[in-house]
Symmetry: C2
Subunit: 203 residues, 2 copies
DNA sequence: TGTACATCAGTGAACGCGCGTTCACTGATGTAC
DNA sequence: TGTACATCAGTGAACGCGCGTTCACTGATGTAC
């Protein structure tokens, strides 16, 4: 194995190990040596690849951005938010993205608390989609329906709901009394909640 | 001043100082000496009153519980959630509680990330109100309206929205593009969002 | 193809910083007589 | 009311633990000739 391959492999191993350990212990509780141990490398090896824990998270964030951009390159979708299916498409897309990148998303949220820079970076990820949604809302007003608040505020409420509900559902240890629902059922529930709130119509 | 008074005064000063420093630096970033400095006491004094930072937060949590119980002792309210005003009453109550205890709430959320015990404690605070709301939802189904999901899930979505939106609005540094709205206007927006989602009716 | 040297990924023990926590000390308040 | 001693809140310098980070070393890969 060439040196480059070797280095790339170790770097990848460290990133994968970090995701696993972040998911288990949380970003803030994770020590550098937790990551290197999980990756099966020596502590010093870490610094050949990252200047510290934050830089590793930056790298994970870049991977996330790349994944997000790829998702965004599927632009064929119904923009008419007076149709429940159009709302559902967005909810489902967010849900899937979150599920696939749960560990990194959780780590980013935790990092935000001690380093606000990550908060801004996290906002960037959803910025493009938020603009997309803003466009869809015009169909609602054009149909003579009234939004629950200004477009900006309506979108902000939607994101607070979807973001936090998704994170809570997927990441927090499920309490015993939580009903075991399929992804589709939960996505339906979110869709109905948001669709009704946006349009004032039943569904 | 008697010794008891003296001790009580220092303990109160430490708690107040902690709230201020938590609000400024965040709970996780705050060092013991930040608190004692803000309170104008020596570092060692802290340990006459609390075994550590977590115990101080426990004390703040007890204060919060007391405040919550007091609020709950105003039980006269319209339970019929087919009335927007009934929904608004709950939203406004939560909003006020959050505003009055913002620093502690934020600290608790941060503490939750590194110590899940606080998560459970935080849940307890809202548990009583959640049961109250569950009762109100029966008026919705009794009126022949359909909830967006099961009662448990509907309530969970409502709380994720209200909790996180309120925290975001009150605590995060307002971006320049955020419209300057009064409390009442924001409470109206949340009420409309939730009322529509719950009932499927326009409002 | 072979040899000699350079480079570099990885190692892990050791170092040292930051911060929580302790503890001997001070001076004021409380108690006994 | 006064005196002598006990108790306790508060002080801040010093200690020491935990963990991030370094660095001399190893062995394998790359390069020059």
């Amino acid at each position: 194995m060439s040196r480059k391959e070797q280095a790339a492999e170790t770097e990848a191993a460290l990133k994968e190990a970090a995701k696993r350990v972040f998911a288990e212990l949380g970003y803030l509780n994770t020590k550098i040596t937790d990551i290197t141990r999980e990756a099966g490398r020596a502590a010093g090896s870490f610094y050949n690849h990252f200047a510290g824990k934050e830089e590793l998270l930056e790298a994970l964030l870049r991977d996330l951005h790349a994944a997000g951009d790829e998702d965004a390159r599927a632009p064929e979708h119904n923009p008419d938010f007076t149709e429940p299916a159009a709302v559902r498409w967005h909810v489902a897309g967010y849900w899937r993205f979150y599920r696939e990148n749960a560990a990194t998303m959780l780590a980013l949220r935790q990092a935000t608390l001690v380093n606000e820079q990550f908060g801004r970076r996290l906002a960037e990820i959803t910025a493009a989609e938020q603009e997309d949604v803003a466009g869809h809302l015009r169909y609602v007003t054009a149909a003579g329906l009234r939004l629950p608040a200004s477009p900006e505020l309506s979108i902000a409420m939607m994101y607070q709901l979807i973001d936090n509900f998704t994170q809570w559902w997927l990441m927090s240890p499920a309490p015993a009394d939580r009903p075991p629902l399929s992804d589709d059922e939960v996505i339906d529930a979110l869709t109905r909640f948001v669709y009704r709130a946006f349009t004032g119509r039943d569904y």
